[in-house]
């Protein structure tokens, strides 16, 4: 349907009042996350998959691997490409049709964290340099939107990648190029970095983590940071119309880094099962 979500003044005041008390409508404090659940290997037909729930927000990420040609300027690298769909299945405020800005932003921010952190060594996806590489598709679908899609998206993508298994490729001949995919011989995708994204949201003068839908909608600005397991910052994106002072940014990156550790803990717990 794509109706705009109108939040009443009364509801806005309610949220702001609670923030002043370091509280939120569901009893959490400002820095608290809702319950996180990660289920991997959800879709057997996919090379990798994961469903992540943060509170009532739910996203599924699926990984498909296909053989293809590398990009001409990176002949020894495999390819990863990330997409996201905000289907009207997940919310009365999503519209049908090809991915709009929001979906594209979600995909690109998630992609940036994974790519820039070198979570996967793309050269390991190369089969015949210059001719044949694995192309990994990371496709995400939002199953229910209750705020904070960014953090859920990266968590789902990483959980899916970390449990992905790709078949071995046998090269029968190089000229002409003939290969055989050994469907039965699966190898786990090697993960070099366990990247996690944490988004901080600004409502007035308050900064919160993991907003629900209403909080997300009334937030003035947000910054999504990507961190690797060595506490390095690998990606950053500010969204929405509001602004941050330099001091605020420095404070927030440290707060987010702190939070990233517990998110990573959830990730590692889920993929080690």
């Amino acid at each position: 349907m794509g109706d705009d979500y109108v939040i009443s003044e009364i509801e806005k005041h309610h949220i702001q009042f609670l923030l002043e008390q370091n509280k939120r409508a569901d009893g959490r404090i400002l820095s608290e996350f809702r319950k996180i659940a990660i289920e991997t290997n959800y879709v057997q037909k996919a090379e990798g998959s994961a469903v992540v729930s943060i509170g009532d927000t739910q996203i599924i990420a699926g990984i498909k691997a296909t053989l293809g040609s590398p990009f001409p300027d990176t002949p020894d690298s495999g390819v990863i490409t990330t997409s996201a769909e905000l289907s009207p299945l997940a919310s009365p405020y999503f519209e049908s049709g090809p991915p709009a800005e929001d979906a594209i932003e979600l995909a690109r921010v998630t992609d940036r964290a994974i790519r820039e952190s070198h979570a996967i060594d793309l050269s390991k996806l190369c089969i015949v340099p210059g001719k044949l590489v694995w192309i990994l598709f990371i496709d995400m679908y939002v199953l229910n939107d209750d705020g904070n899609l960014f953090d859920a998206a990266t968590l789902a993508s990483m959980a899916a990648l970390a449990t992905t298994k790709i078949p071995k490729v046998k090269i029968i001949s190089e000229e002409p190029l003939e290969t055989e995919i050994l469907e039965e011989e699966l190898e786990p995708l090697k993960i070099d970095h366990y990247t996690v994204a944490v988004t901080t949201y600004k409502i007035g003068e308050y900064n919160i983590f993991d907003p629900n839908l209403k909080e997300d909608q009334i937030s003035d600005a947000r910054i999504t940071f990507g961190f690797d397991e060595q506490d390095r910052i690998v990606s950053m994106q500010k969204g929405k119309l509001g602004i941050y002072t330099p001091e605020e940014v420095k404070t927030q990156v440290r707060e987010c880094l702190n939070v990233s550790k517990s998110l990573r803990k959830e990730l590692m717990k889920a993929i080690s099962k």
Binding site: K45, G62, S83
Partner: protein, 313 residues
């Protein structure tokens, strides 16, 4: 799809590749309320199929000129996730998805009491998470449950299953391999309480005897699925002990009719003047409830059935 019959799909003992006998359904499970934002939703697992159906509506339709003046539009959108099949499916809507969306919309339109909500749309979104044959049928089965969960009034609930030919033997509920390599496939959507078939397709090569046998077997399978749908819906509310709430409900309606009198209105006026309300708590007038009267006139029987259905195969 029509295969060439060279793959052995069923052995001499009547066992199929996945261990089932010819008249066995795949293990099926339905969960309700899986999409919190939706007005109604259901997830079905049928063998390896994992499909989510989410219902939004009745709600307003944009653009308004597409709305029907005297009833609700039923719009079903069937989509397959890229990773739901072995070879990644392109995210762009395919012709197959559009056709299936239409078939599902038509089938559901035949049972929904659309004249109760003129000028609205009831949108059903189907997301195939994993596909393993018979997804249009499993989608229809899930969509019916999701509509019931949403409180959309219907004449009955539809269950759907595809039967077909495996090595020329009629089998129930084809899974992907049988669909691909078998020689015939007949998806069927059926409402047992109405004895109505609302979705029907066929491809392959069937003799008349095989045709009849397939149809009967599908109906039998649909009835079993219907039992699963019924149990799932009733289980959801099984813990309600109704007596107390129900009686109070009716009495309350009687009381409320009498409460909005002048004295009480005066108080409300005082309270709701332009200034912010700071006064102490006062009694609130209760809202008048329009009384519920048993319908004396006849409810119109069924929605129009004479319309030619689009997409007849």
């Amino acid at each position: 799809m029509a295969g060439d019959g060279t793959v052995q799909l069923i052995d001499e003992k009547g066992k199929r590749v996945d261990g089932r006998l010819k008249d066995e359904l795949r293990p099926t499970e339905i969960k309700i309320g899986v999409v919190k934002n939706a007005d109604g939703s259901a997830e079905i697992r049928m063998g390896k199929n994992i499909i989510i159906a989410a219902v939004y509506g009745p709600r307003e339709l944009h653009p308004k000129h597409r709305a029907l003046p005297d009833r609700a539009l039923i719009q079903c959108f069937y989509r397959m996730s890229t990773f739901s099949v072995n070879d990644r499916k392109s995210p762009a809507p395919s012709r197959r998805e559009k056709e299936i969306s239409m078939l599902l919309s038509d089938a559901l339109t035949s049972v929904v009491l659309t004249d109760k909500y003129p000028r609205t749309t009831i949108d059903i979104y189907i997301q195939v998470i994993q596909a393993d044959g018979g997804t249009r049928c499993a989608s229809l089965t899930a969509a019916s449950v999701a509509l019931a969960d949403a409180g959309v009034p219907m004449r009955g609930i539809i269950a759907a299953v595809a039967s077909g030919l495996a090595n020329d033997i009629v089998v129930l509920d084809l899974f992907d391999l049988e669909d691909q390599k078998g020689s015939g496939d007949m998806p069927l959507g059926y409402c047992p309480t109405l004895n109505e078939i609302s979705l029907l397709q066929l491809d392959g090569v069937f003799t008349l005897e095989q045709f009849d046998e397939c149809l009967d077997l599908s109906i039998e399978g649909a009835k079993r699925l219907y039992d699963i749908q019924t149990n799932t819906l009733k289980q959801r509310y099984a813990d309600i002990r109704a007596e107390v709430a129900v009686d109070e409900d009716d009495e309350v309606k009687e009381e409320l009719k009498e409460q909005l009198n002048d004295e009480v209105k005066e108080e409300l006026i005082e309270q709701l003047k332009e200034e912010p309300k700071k006064e102490e708590v006062k009694e609130e007038p209760k809202k008048e409830e329009v009384k519920e009267e048993p319908k004396k006139e006849e409810v119109k029987e069924e929605p129009k059935k004479e319309e030619p259905k689009k997409g007849d195969e």
